[in-house]
Symmetry: C2
Subunit: 347 residues, 2 copies
């Protein structure tokens, strides 16, 4: 039995807590200051409001003020908040982080640091931990993993990536089970880059769905072309960020893009835009309804990162026609149908 503290009681953190508890671990699920309405019901044994199911009875719940207790003696710390929450949550946890307990990150995205530089999450986290003498092995979890399905024991395969492969192996051993299998990888840069870009590219599939709802003929050919091009561009980006092409062609890239483009809020965001909604207004409206659409900011961040890498001579923007098209649709109100039809790809 391993003591595992999970930070963030939303979809992913809670599903992960459930999985870990079913494996018999001492699981502490801590809700942030934004999670009070999730922790309360779960603590009373009621269904988790997001996952809509009861968590395993062995999950111990902690509310925001109880962070220190939740972390005490933890042998692994799991970060389950979204990319905006990573630095605020870890800053608060910093004094209480047990020495040497590895950090597993379920978070996908990039972090823009105080200097405005777009960074992989692991690098931003290390920049926080290291000066405090709290650096530790880091494992990024990638791959196609909807929380609702993981919690319901639907067969899921993920990737645990770390530059400390023995730690990835250790963590995988704690958590693997028949319905949650784990590929080990030493390509942290590749997995993080794929995970960060999939939300941006998943909007493409939704745009097609939206066009069809407006009366456009079925466009499976186009969706397949866009999917292929997305995987090609993600692979190029992974390599430019120091990762490997094969990582993008595996679960962390192709797999995660597939699940994101088929289901979820980023596809839905694209659909609403494809139907004719103004991109900024659709994002605002979905946010108002509590539906986080990471794809919208991810397109901006991804585009800015591309421009930076191009300026550094590490990439050519011309090799990213799909990211360009999606960015123009979402941030320059380019017409969806004409923009997709004008896309020229080679794959």
């Amino acid at each position: 039995m391993t003591a595992i503290a999970i930070l963030g009681a939303g979809y992913m953190g809670s599903a992960f807590a459930h999985v870990a508890a079913e494996r018999g671990h001492d699981v502490r699920l801590w809700g942030t200051w934004l999670d009070d309405e999730l922790v309360g019901p779960a603590r009373r044994g009621e269904p988790h409001p997001r996952l809509r199911m009861r968590l395993d009875a062995h999950v111990r719940l902690f509310s925001s003020p109880e962070l220190e207790v939740a972390l005490r003696g933890a042998e692994a710390v799991v970060c389950g908040v979204n990319s905006d929450g990573v630095l605020p949550v870890l800053s608060r946890a910093l004094p209480h982080l047990p020495a040497s307990a590895p950090l597993l990150s379920l978070t996908k995205g990039f972090i823009t640091d105080e200097a405005g530089r777009i960074e992989r999450i692991s690098r931003a986290v290390r920049a926080l931990l290291r000066p405090a003498g709290k650096d530790r092995p880091y494992v990024a979890v990638g791959g196609p993993c909807k929380a609702m399905e993981v919690a319901r024991r639907v067969s899921t395969s993920v990737v645990f990536a770390s530059d400390a492969p023995d730690v990835a192996e250790l963590c995988a051993g704690w958590l693997e089970r028949e319905t949650y299998t784990i590929t080990r990888s030493d390509d942290l840069a590749g997995v993080e880059t794929c995970s960060a870009f999939k939300n941006a590219y998943a909007t493409a599939s939704g745009l097609c769905d939206g066009l069809q709802l407006r009366g456009h003929p079925e466009m499976y050919n186009t969706k397949a072309m866009l999917f292929t091009q997305a995987t090609v561009e993600i692979a190029r980006m992974a390599v430019a960020m120091g990762g490997r092409r094969e990582t993008a062609q595996g679960l962390a890239g192709v797999g995660d893009l597939h699940v994101t483009a088929a289901a979820g809020r980023n596809r839905a965001y694209g659909e609403n835009v494809g139907r004719g909604g103004r991109p900024a207004e659709v994002a605002a409206e979905m946010a108002r309804l509590g539906e986080l659409t990471e794809g919208y900011p991810a397109l901006k961040t991804g585009w800015e990162l591309l421009l930076r890498l191009a300026a550094e001579g590490r990439l050519a923007t011309g090799d990213f026609p799909l990211l360009d098209a999606l960015h123009r649709v979402v941030y320059e109100d380019a017409e969806v149908g004409a923009t997709l039809a004008g896309l020229r790809i080679r794959a």
Copy 2:
């Protein structure tokens, strides 16, 4: 204007004829002895019975006995029949094939020759043409390309692959247009292998859909894992067959698998099996209704090819757990849910 003779007036041949005619070519669309009920209405200017739309008025239609006239003076010959029809149709066309006109193949699959050996279509075709002194440049068309959508000008990107790249370039020049863009490739072996395997692997997605219809929870994670593993296995097979990994990661592999797994008869076949139908009976019933399910025989052919390549030491069957699982479900009546849940992949 180029004289283009298209053999086979089903979905793909007719859609291709429509596209070529819109580009202004002298298009002759010849229906095989099985296509009489398709050629008749189209010739009278009525909608094509399969495509459910009128073909471009410049498409000239020829019925089965008019093969010689259709081929006379053709500068390109397009094979648009299914893999079972390729050798019978080309055997009949053989005496009339204009010298040196390149052969474009829209056909996807493998051909089992008289000795029982599974061959890429181009090799089986050459074995027919060469002894007759009728060998010629060969171009295989791969990529995600539903005929209904091509005919309706839905944005589509395909691959023209040839070991005579200048001929692929020539043919692409004849046919490319804004909604039908063409990647050129010299990887004939890779494109043919990808095209032949996608029907087999597309059944996996349908199996998941069928399980859900039987009450299984949503399984987007599983579908994404299966899709990823399918692309990994197709890439391995492409390499073993003399092709390139990148081909499988482009439109011919990832792209064609995507469209086939999302829509079409092979997905539907998998769905019917996933719902609990006996695989052989589902295939027979769909055949009775005129719905060709290439995925069913493709799984048998693909498995036999794998066994041969393994016996030759060129591949290991253990690297193809998904093909193994699908083959067991479809040809050994293995239980769908348990078989998919027991799949162990690394990607």
